[in-house]
């Protein structure tokens, strides 16, 4: 991979975000996605495919799963000498306080940021899924002469969705006038994808400025304030885009990909999404299996019925069991004749006694990790 003049930062969500259930066990970046991936595979693969070979991943609480999954980063196809994926921790990691935000994490590691050789930085969130060539973003940024370029996605369903997200107000020249919160007041919005491109020096100045102004300011707060003084522009993203900042968002974003056309647009041979392999063997389907419209990972044993669902690695679905509109995470077992609908079964869940687990399409039932029901 040829290297470009930017390093990458994969950011953590601030403490206002909490995904019920799932996030009790791991940060959003470590959520399983579409069975064989983890959410953080998307920002890192985007960076790797964009020739970014120095990447900082900021982790807050419960870093084990991210640390293990990212490892040395070789599976992301980054030269292990010239490049590096570095995990950066913030010391306040476990505290839920409002002071524990992205700016405080960057400040704690500001020496390391300042020592980076690259002139530019691309910051992308660990809690959104999309495909983007950051070389194009950087080229556009440099050519435009802007101080900061922000990635956004135009949506027409902001009334119902993207509730936790920031929005951009743009002028005709794509200048960003302000960053606000999506209050669900209008259907058409430019959702801010929490993705930034700027010079490293500008970034360092912003971090320092934010911390001087207020210790609860986040990066988007300070950029919002600087919109008046700096040339801040928007860059429109097209294609699949999902934010995973609530259990519903996660559920919908996953099941949306059961439309194979959408999925195969997100996963293209020339833009591989890398992940860590678990060396599981192929999945075995038995005499009695009935599977339709589903993504199934390797290592499963399937005797029952699966419809419109996403099945993680090493899942066992016994005879007569029916899984519908559900997400089953790795190593869960569903015993005979059990019916599961609109549910999310976390890793190692074992469903034996509960005859039925039924959620609503807009309120999926969540089953805890290692729960035996």
């Amino acid at each position: 991979m040829m290297s470009i003049k930017a390093f990458g930062i994969v950011s953590s969500p601030d403490n206002s975000v909490h995904v019920e259930g799932l996030q009790d066990y791991r940060p959003i970046g470590a959520f399983s996605f579409l069975g064989r991936f983890r959410v953080i595979d998307f920002p890192i693969s985007n960076m790797s495919n964009s020739d970014i070979n120095r990447i900082q991943v900021y982790v807050q609480s419960r870093p084990r799963s991210i640390a293990e999954h990212v490892g040395s980063g070789r599976h992301y196809n980054i030269n292990s000498k010239r490049g590096k994926i570095q995990l950066l921790f913030s010391e306040n990691s476990s505290s839920r306080s409002i002071y524990n935000n992205d700016i405080s994490a960057y400040l704690e590691n500001i020496d390391i940021i300042q020592r980076m050789h690259q002139e530019y930085v691309i910051i992308a969130p660990s809690y959104m899924v999309y495909k983007q060539d950051y070389r194009q973003l950087l080229e556009t940024h440099v050519a435009s002469g802007a101080d900061i370029t922000l990635l956004y996605h135009k949506v027409d369903n902001a009334r119902e969705y993207f509730k936790n997200c920031h929005t951009l107000s743009l002028n005709r020249q794509k200048g960003v006038q302000s960053i606000g919160k999506n209050m669900g007041t209008a259907k058409d919005k430019n959702i801010f994808m929490e993705t930034y491109c700027m010079k490293r020096d500008t970034f360092v100045q912003l971090v320092k400025a934010a911390s001087w102004e207020s210790s609860i300011y986040t990066l988007s707060d300070i950029v919002n304030i600087k919109c008046k003084d700096l040339d801040v522009r928007g860059y429109q993203h097209r294609g699949y885009f999902a934010t995973l900042t609530s259990l519903n968002d996660y559920f919908n974003a996953s099941l949306e990909l059961l439309n194979y056309d959408i999925a195969s647009d997100l996963f293209r041979a020339e833009w591989p999404i890398y992940t860590r392999t678990t060396d599981s063997c192929p999945t075995e389907y038995f005499e009695s299996s009935k599977v339709t419209n589903s993504f199934v990972s390797n290592g499963c044993l399937i005797e029952g019925t699966v419809e419109n669902s996403i099945i993680g690695r090493g899942v066992v679905i016994k005879k007569g069991a029916v899984i519908r509109n559900s997400i089953v995470l790795a190593y869960a077992t569903v015993e005979e004749d059990i019916r599961i609908e609109n549910a999310i079964l976390d890793k190692w869940a074992h469903i034996i006694h509960a005859k039925e687990i039924i959620g609503e399409p807009d309120a999926p039932q969540y089953i805890k990790r290692q729960d035996t029901l």
Binding site: Y260, C281, P282, T283, F286, S289, F295, V296
Partner: protein, 380 residues
């Protein structure tokens, strides 16, 4: 430091010509098996799981793919500081001409300098084209306990078939007293698996002598083992009881794949304590479409099934389109079975496209059909 106690050398130079078109471009050890593996993944993963750090792979013939494949030693975790998989091809020395390997023993002899670099106590010799799971560390324990010069892994074959194999006759306590290649009247049913552990120093001496012997075939089975028996060396048989398959023909390759559909299949690739490692791919998980019907199948990531699949093994990236039927077959990576086509009792080679409505194979065929070229669409 036990790391170089035992070095493994995998003989991977076989042409595998009975596998026909599957081996015109790749050597037999690189042939696909089991939905996501290549045959050589088995000995290599066995080495990794048995704690062997250094593996030499001896190749010749059309092996550019095999060489590149095994060179990626991270696939089997053999990429830590002092580990590695090394491709060893016949080579030209400053004072000699360039040569091919003349026999299994010659392949080792030509690489004595490589082996010497690691100064092992024991040498494990394996074949690159067998499918099985085996803990070589246990075999080494046995070798040490017996204070053996050589230990040969054997397995029991049906007595009536024994005359097709190299048979080891033992003294009842494991010591080999006689070796008969394809005996007309076998005295035992213990067939050699072509897996040897030798104490390196004495073997090295024998190999050096054997190289100079103009009457030798430079082969372990024909020359080295008989000579060791003759010299009253300590040769022991180590009996292996698990699943083992040498897939020499299209039919046996197909059969070995079909074995995986048996829920009681003893190869149990699902066993997390002895995983078989292979190339990693960046694909979607397998997608099973709206109208798909799957009964008894072994399917891996990156496959897309919109049609019907029965009793079959599907490799990475295989596609079964709407209305297509795949029965009792093996689809190798990237095979596409277009709409309405039917594939029965066939083994379809990598990246072959079966045109819409084509019909391949038949339910009652004697042999499995190998499809190595694209098939045009049918009319029916």
């Amino acid at each position: 430091m036990a790391q170089n106690e035992m070095l493994a050398m995998i003989l991977a130079g076989g042409r595998g010509s009975r596998l026909k078109d599957l081996t015109t471009k790749v050597a037999k050890p690189a042939v696909f098996y089991g939905g996501k593996y290549r045959i050589i993944d088995f000995p290599l993963s066995n080495c990794a799981n048995s704690g062997i750090d250094i593996v030499g792979v001896l190749t010749q013939y059309e092996s550019v793919l095999l060489n590149s494949y095994v060179a990626q030693d991270g696939r089997w975790g053999l990429d830590s500081k002092d580990s590695g998989v090394y491709v060893l091809t016949p080579r030209e020395k400053a004072d000699e001409g360039l040569d091919v390997y003349r026999g299994t023993a010659d392949a080792i002899s030509q690489n004595i300098d490589f082996i010497d670099t690691y100064d092992p106590e024991y040498l494990l010799i394996l074949s690159g084209d067998h499918i099985y799971k085996m803990n070589y560390a246990k075999m080494l324990e046995y070798h040490k306990a017996m204070n053996a010069d050589a230990t040969i892994a054997v397995r029991g074959v049906p007595m009536k078939e024994a005359s097709r194999f190299g048979i080891m006759n033992t003294d009842g306590k494991g010591r080999i007293v006689e070796f008969e290649e394809k005996p007309a009247k076998p005295k035992s049913n213990l067939a050699s698996m072509g897996i040897y552990i030798f104490t390196w120093k004495p073997l090295r001496k024998m190999l050096v002598e054997d190289m100079k012997n103009p009457n030798s075939n430079h082969d372990f089975g024909k020359d080295i083992i008989p000579k060791m028996l003759n010299d009253k060396k300590g040769l022991f048989a180590y009996e292996f009881k698990g699943y083992w398959k040498d897939v020499g023909t299209i039919d046996s390759l197909w059969e070995a794949n079909m074995d995986l559909l048996d829920p009681k299949n003893p190869l149990s690739l699902n066993d997390s304590s002895w995983l078989i490692y292979t190339e990693d791919v960046s694909t979607l998980p397998q997608y099973i479409g709206n109208d798909a019907k799957i009964k008894c199948a072994y399917i891996t990531q990156g496959v897309r099934v919109e049609g019907s699949v029965t009793n079959s093994v599907l490799f990475t990236g295989a596609v079964v389109e709407k209305g297509a039927k795949v029965i009792d077959s093996v689809l190798m990576p990237g095979v596409v079975v277009e709409e309405g086509a039917t594939v029965t009792r066939a083994l379809v080679a990598e990246n072959v496209r079966i045109g819409a409505k084509a019909r391949i194979g038949s339910k009652n065929s004697e042999n499995i059909e190998l499809v190595a070229k694209n098939v045009k669409g049918g009319t029916k």
